[in-house]
Symmetry: D2
């Protein structure tokens, strides 16, 4: 009953096998090996973007902040949700990598709304050189409170960005879970709706530590490479990043692993709703926020379930507790049903 | 006959096995798993430094620049060799991570000399606020042209740093090769001779991508952790970094792999000297620079040997070519003897 | 009828006279001249802080961001009002000078409230290394919408900072106007209520371009000096900054000029209230926000009054317009009464 | 007998008069006043560059580092002399403002030579993403050891920059002194020989603290303005910068003041050479380096002459002392002849 994070589960066995296969003799470093070059081509094919610049980096934060650094000069501001990973969970890495840009927070939920985004953008670049320039719009799909934007909702945001001539970054740490949920292709959820730089996450979906960044305007490629190197993020033994990504692409493993995780999310939501529990994630994939009486939380945790409470770690008495449960690819249906049983008993 | 770099060879099989063993069920992220905690303790034991703060990072550049950022404020300067990796091969990452510090280049070889270091330090912090403060001394062991500092030579440098109250960073990307060469313990080559932050490299010696940083003054620990995170260098699935390092420590694999690589370096140097070739590395471990007539170089490369020429990629006619050969742990004695045969024939 | 800004008026004649007096023969540069040294002592005396480190800088932004850079490491966050000058009007200079720190916005008005500040601080440093550390609290006195904090209100904020062990920066671009309004001494409005670094503004109150920074903990002095130099903000001909500040201190010119400006603010507020106009600044000094029908605004501007509308530059029809009027030291009572007459006629 | 620096003398009286004239009533801030706009046009006319973007900043360091920040991305390197002001006297401000670029030092004198520059440039951008990109060439005219480049010498350097497609920055803190020395126009010493951004210094030549930056490619204008603001270097009361520059342009005051300073330099050099003193500045304007026996130095200083020794502040016995004497516009012929008399007696 481990629901703490989708980066706490094991790596898919196919990934370890791919690492072993890649471990054969010598290979040039820094991405110029055959495997790395093949992976670039395969990612271009998957995204139907033959001209895209494609890079592998080891962490989601790296993928986000290198992307933003290429889109946002230091005297501009990034538009994002107040609970975006780049705002809450990257310890000022966006400010660091952009050389001191600002983040302008839009609205108060995990999904930005087009009206709020438009208002936030309109409110910047109104004070001459006294305020920052308008910079990129950063969207997280799956969003931080577990919600999946519909394609229409995404397009509504990218349309606003386009009104103002601003580029769009998609933080796709859970890109696969969202694509599976929506039943769309990677291209449909990225450049076809106006995304300029897309992060195709692997680490939260069964890889050891690899994210792909797809830059649909290849003019940014050289800058990304230089920023990756000076960020200390270029791997010399790059083939082992490539091997993970190759395994991820083989037989659409990315899709298969995300489907499994999402199925556990569905199982969890249906079970909770069936018991009348207030599920707070409206359009879930594999991350579910819900409220339960605090005594239920205590009983369930004592019985061994692992997950995080949100916002109010030390709430009083029996006030409602907001819990976040994350289902990873390796989670068993039994783990979910065991958890649901515990909740049911405690209610 | 692959001598291009010690980061181009395969990973030691024990490392892959350790990754597979670590791939079992759930583990907390970001270094709070059992395996990660054990590795910290084991590194403290290896370095006889029970109080040291110990961190794993994925690249040698990351290890260097995070260390320097903790030792050097943005209005100071780092003292290093003009061919140091931090100067030549990190695309301004030290300047980036320190927030804009400077590098002051000492002397003209790969090994700094104490007199030159003293002169360089004395020449800074002489202009009030107009010039930078004196910052850390950064030493590379094995140095960039393949030379290993003796313990006395290292201590002579750290003594100069101490005269001025400056901290010392040791870039130990090839720390193991140097320790094997000198027949000393990790403690003897680090804090016992005045090193404040030591990089214990793994990537060039059989790991997939892990370096340990040992900070002997634990007061710097919190800053290092925050800088690692905002550098996008903190791995969520940290157990897979730890597993590699655990394998490296098991049965002193680090020592065994470095011994193998150094033995090939010895074989190479002895063979070259036996043929009257001018070996330019005076105190080698596994990296050897030597000069050969350019026609020899051409013949040897055509026959399939892989390595880099240095400085003069396109030299004229039959001028001497300076070659760098790097022996990794997996290099076979036969590969070296084949290479020597080729040189012998071509001479 | 010029109310656009208190940095648009002329320099007090005493300042020009002081510049002329200072322009006599040679003087050492960079603040080591006699006049500069005297001014430091006189500012220490005025603030009853004989140990304080004291520096002159040419702009208010410089005073703020150098102060914040000394108080906030790059992996921390500054707490401030969402309309603070450092957030809205410095084009990311705080992010630049701190090396990439964040600004956390507190509440929704120009004056922060202690409960909102406590909540904002409590909400940071809760996510380990994933979020930034808690950094300094930055308070603006006079606040951006023209309100003057009472001493009690200031102390309530600094008390919250102290609860968490955080330092306090006071943006005192209009420090003199506030001190006059409250009838308190500089010491009473700074270190005696828990301010760690105080900006004593001159530029908006009759100087040509000088702000003093008082650092009550002199341990920060060296860092401030180095950061000022590398910010390109150290004047070689420093005596001309010192001369301005000397004139400002002579006969308490700072107090006299601020009293004049505040008197015009009083005149304006009383006149507007007498006509039933909705004054939005509750505790004004020399800056007054008020609402008027848009047709009144148009009539008044056409008649030659100069000031800025706020937030809604292009409001529709006859919706209320929010106007900011700033009274500088040189403003005549007649200019104010002329303005009031215009409003009265147009209403 | 004050020869310590040309920023230690008084401001030209015309400058104070201009400040007084400008101090009349209200004026819009931040450079949008009439006087500021006129000065821009007049500087364009002086430089025969009607399209140039022109900005005023308060310090020479500001002028240099804002220029470099517009020309050099953070992953590139600036080429300059090892004794350039940007390397030795700006406390890492270039590294700060560029976001962490590097400075590559060319040759070992104050004037760079084209061959050394070509070699230095050729040596960068040879290591893929591992080393920095080639960035701008920065030339100082008058150079730091007092030498004036001839137009041919400047053009030889800008030609090398052009070979590699690199932009050129001219640090003209003593631009006027050089132009007077060479008898050339500002245009002839800037864009006509390939300078892209030129600093036209005022502070060392009789102004209180103003430098003009001329950007001959106006596409860089917006970036410069934003960087100036976020560097805390934009003056609200900009008319007082403009008034200084206006006085500087009236009747070619810049030329007149520089002529006076240069005449004192000539007087000094001729006097020294007449006594057989070893003058080390080959092509002087108003800065002269020369060697004298240390006992002479001691005697002259005791008699009241003020200047700096270079490099060896505390030399032994009667070893030669290298002195730097700087003549400012206000220096009297008698002060120079008094100094020469002292040297003559002491020899």
């Amino acid at each position: 009953m481990f629901f703490a994070s989708d980066n706490s589960g094991p790596v898919a066995p196919q990934v370890l096998e791919a690492l072993a296969r890649a471990n054969d003799g010598y290979a040039p470093g820094y991405g110029s090996d055959t495997l790395s070059e093949q992976v670039v081509e395969r990612l271009r094919a998957l995204f139907e973007a033959p001209e895209a610049a494609v890079y592998l980096v080891p962490t989601g934060t790296a993928a986000n902040v290198l992307s933003l650094a290429c889109l946002c000069p230091p005297y501009a501001t990034v538009f994002c949700s107040p609970v975006a990973h780049i705002q809450e969970d990257e310890c000022n890495a966006p400010e660091f990598y952009t050389g001191g840009a600002k983040l302008t927070l839009v609205g108060d939920g995990d999904r930005m709304r087009p009206e709020a985004l438009r208002a936030a953008i309109a409110n910047e670049e109104t004070r001459g050189v006294h305020g920052p320039l308008r910079g990129p719009v950063s969207i997280t799909q799956v969003a931080e409170r577990g919600n999946v934007y519909s394609l229409d909702a995404l397009r509504a945001l990218t349309d606003v960005a386009r009104e103002f001539g601003l580029p769009v970054h998609l933080d796709g740490a859970r890109f696969s879970n969202a694509a599976v949920k929506l039943g769309v292709t990677p291209a449909e959820m990225s450049w076809k709706i106006g995304v300029d730089i897309c992060v195709f996450g692997g680490t939260k979906n069964g890889l050891m530590g690899v994210e792909a960044v797809l830059i649909f305007d290849p003019a940014k490629a050289a800058e990304f490479e230089l920023r990756r190197k000076r960020g200390a993020l270029l791997f010399s033994k790059h083939r082992y990043l490539a091997a993970q990504m190759a395994a991820y692409l083989d037989g659409d493993l990315w899709h298969d692993l995300a489907s499994r995780a999402n199925a556990r999310g569905d199982q969890l939501v249906q079970g909770l709703k069936g018991m009348g529990v207030a599920v707070r994630t409206e359009a879930h994939a594999n991350v579910v926020f819900f409220e339960m009486p605090r005594r239920v939380h205590r009983a369930v945790q004592e019985a061994g379930a692992v997950y995080h409470l949100w916002d109010d770690l030390e709430g009083p008495g029996d006030s409602p507790a907001l819990a976040r449960l994350v289902c990873d690819w390796s989670l068993s249906p039994k783990a979910v049903s065991d958890f649901l049983d515990l909740v049911g008993k405690a209610l």
